[in-house]
C-alpha cells in the first residue's frame, strides 16, 4: 500500500512538471495555431538568463522574474522575427500548416546551438525555491517535497491565470478570435499581429517558469528540457491540445501512468509507454480526453 501511495506521489510531482511544459504548448496553439517545438529551446534560453541572475544574486525568485521576462521577450521575438515573416509568404495550402512547425523545429536546433556556444554543454544548477527533501511524518518520509508543492502550486496558478485571461478578458477574446480566423478578427477590428505577439510572449513567460522550476528540480544543459518537450507535447495532445485543464489532466495521467510503469513493470518501458498512451488516445478519442467543444473553453 505504501509503495502505491509513494508511486502516486512521485507520479503527481512528475505530472506537474510535464504540465508546465504542456501548458506553454497549449497556450501557443490556442493563441496562434502553431505547434511550437521551439518551446523547449525558448525555455532553456530563458532559464540560462535566470541561471546568470541566480549565480549573481543566489536568489531563486529574483532569477525567476528575469527568466519570465526573458521568456516573454524571446517569445515575442520569435513571432516578430520569424512567424510574421513566415506567414507573409505561406498564406494558404499545406505550407501554411507545415512551414511554421518545421520552422519551430529548426529554431529549437538553432537556440540549442547558440546556448551551447555561449554557456557550454556542462550541467548547471540553480538554487531551489524550497527543500527537495520529502515531507516527514513521524518516522515516515514521503517522496513529495516542499519543492514538489511549489511546482504543483505553480501549475495551479498558471492554469487559473491563463483560464481567466482566455475566458474573462477582452485580450483573451482577441487571442481566441485571432487564432480561429485571423482575417475575420482583423475585419472586426482586432489587431491580430499584435495580439499574436502577446500570445507568444505569454507562452514564452510560462516556458520561463517551467524551465526555472524544472531546473531547480534537476539540472540545466542545452538539452535538459528536450525530454520534457516530448512528454509535455504528448500530455497536451492527450488533453485535447485546446484545453488548459486538458493539458494538466493529460500531464497528470502521463506522469502517474509512467511512474507506475517505471516502478511496477519495467524501467526500459517508460519512454515508449508515453507514445503508446498517445497512440491509444488518438485512436480512441482523436479530439483528446478533454477535446469536446465545451471542454475547449477553459
Amino acid at each position: 500500500m505504501q509503495k502505491i501511495l509513494d508511486t502516486l506521489l512521485i507520479g503527481i510531482s512528475q505530472g506537474s512538471i510535464y504540465a508546465l511544459m504542456s501548458l506553454a504548448l497549449v497556450l501557443v496553439w490556442r493563441s496562434t495555431r502553431v505547434v511550437n517545438f521551439a518551446q523547449a529551446g525558448q525555455a532553456v534560453l530563458s532559464t540560462y538568463v535566470g541561471f546568470e541572475i541566480a549565480s549573481r544574486t543566489g536568489n531563486f525568485w529574483i532569477s525567476l522574474i528575469f527568466a519570465v521576462i526573458a521568456g516573454a521577450l524571446i517569445g515575442a521575438a520569435v513571432d516578430v522575427l520569424l512567424m510574421r515573416v513566415l506567414f507573409k509568404h505561406a498564406t494558404s495550402g499545406p505550407a501554411l500548416v507545415v512551414a511554421p512547425v518545421i520552422a519551430t523545429l529548426g529554431l529549437l536546433g538553432l537556440i540549442r546551438s547558440i546556448v551551447g556556444l555561449v554557456w557550454g554543454g556542462e550541467y548547471r544548477s540553480i538554487p531551489a525555491p524550497a527543500s527537495k527533501d520529502g515531507f516527514t511524518f513521524g518516522t515516515t518520509t514521503i517522496p513529495f517535497s516542499p519543492l514538489n508543492s511549489v511546482i504543483v502550486a505553480a501549475v495551479a496558478l498558471v492554469l487559473i491565470a491563463i483560464s481567466i485571461l482566455f475566458t474573462r478578458t477582452n485580450l483573451g477574446l482577441a487571442l481566441r478570435a485571432s487564432a480561429y480566423a485571423p482575417e475575420i478578427a482583423r475585419l472586426a477590428g482586432v489587431r491580430t499581429s499584435q495580439t499574436r505577439t502577446i500570445g507568444w510572449a505569454i507562452a514564452g513567460g510560462v516556458g520561463g517558469v517551467a524551465g526555472m522550476l524544472i531546473t531547480s528540480y534537476n539540472f540545466l544543459s542545452p538539452y535538459s528540457l528536450d525530454l520534457l518537450l516530448v512528454f509535455g507535447f504528448i500530455a497536451a495532445v492527450v488533453g485535447g491540445l485546446e484545453s488548459m485543464v486538458g493539458a494538466v489532466v493529460g500531464a497528470m495521467i502521463l506522469g502517474i501512468g509512467l511512474t507506475f510503469i517505471l516502478n511496477y513493470v519495467n524501467t526500459s518501458l517508460t519512454f515508449v509507454s508515453g507514445f503508446v498512451v498517445l497512440i491509444i488516445v488518438l485512436l480512441v478519442k482523436p479530439d483528446g480526453l478533454i477535446g469536446s467543444r465545451k471542454g475547449r473553453r477553459a
Partner: protein, 258 residues
Amino acid sequence: MSSENSVLSVSDLSVSFGGLKALNKVNIELRKGEVLGLIGPNGAGKTTVFNALCGIVPPDSGTLSLYGEKVSWPKPHQLAKRGIARTLQGVGLFPDLTVAENVMVGAQKFARSNFFSSALGRSEKDEAKLRERAQSALERVYVGTVSERTADTLSYPDTKRVAIARALVSEPEILLLDEPAGGLGAQDIEWLNGLIRNVKARTSVIIVEHHMDVVMSVCDRIYVLNFGEIIASGTPHEVRNNEAVIQAYLGTHSKAQS
C-alpha cells in the same frame, strides 16, 4: 466627383490579380443615409470592391475619400475605427466562441483594456460594457436569447443575424453587407429588408446581393458591375430598364415585370 453629403467615394479604382483585371477604373459614391446596391453577374468584381475597401486586396490605383476627405486605403483592423463594418459572403462567425463573444469581437473599438490592465484584472468593467453592447446588438436582430450558445449550434438564419449584429455593434457609419440574403427564406428576407430600411437612419449601407427582390426593395441607388467595370448606375427603376443591364445581368423577364 464626390457630392457634399458623400460619406464614401471611390475614384478610378483598379484591381488586378496577376494578369486578370478584376476592377477597371471603378467610381462609386455612397451618400449619407443611403442604401446603395452593387449588383452584377458572378465574377463581375462586386466582392473585390468590398475587399479593396476593407484592405484585403491592394488596389493597383484609385483614391478613397471618407466623409469628404481623401484618405489612404485602410488596413482591415482600422475599419471599425474609421466607422466601417462589414459582413462576409459566408457567415464568418467563430464557431467555438459563444454568440455573445462573437459579437463582442466586433466591439473592439470600444475596449479600453490592454494587456497590462487585463493581466492586473482591471478589465472587468470594460468586459461588462462590451457584453452589454453585444447583448443589445443581438436583441436588435432578435437573437438575444441565444447569446450564451456557441455559434456552431445556431440555425443558418440565426448565424446571419449574429453576423449582422457583429457588424452593427461597432455603431458604424458605413455598413457593407455582402450577400446578406443568401440562403434565407422569404420570412427572413422580409425581416432583413425591414432591418436595412431601419438601419439607414443612422448608417449608410452598401449591399452586394443577387436577390433582386431585396435590391429593388431597399436600395436608393444601384451600381451595376460587369467584367470589372460599372456599366450602369441610377435608381432601381432606371437600372431595371437599362438595356445594357438587361442584356448583361437582369434578362428580359425583369423588364417585362417592370
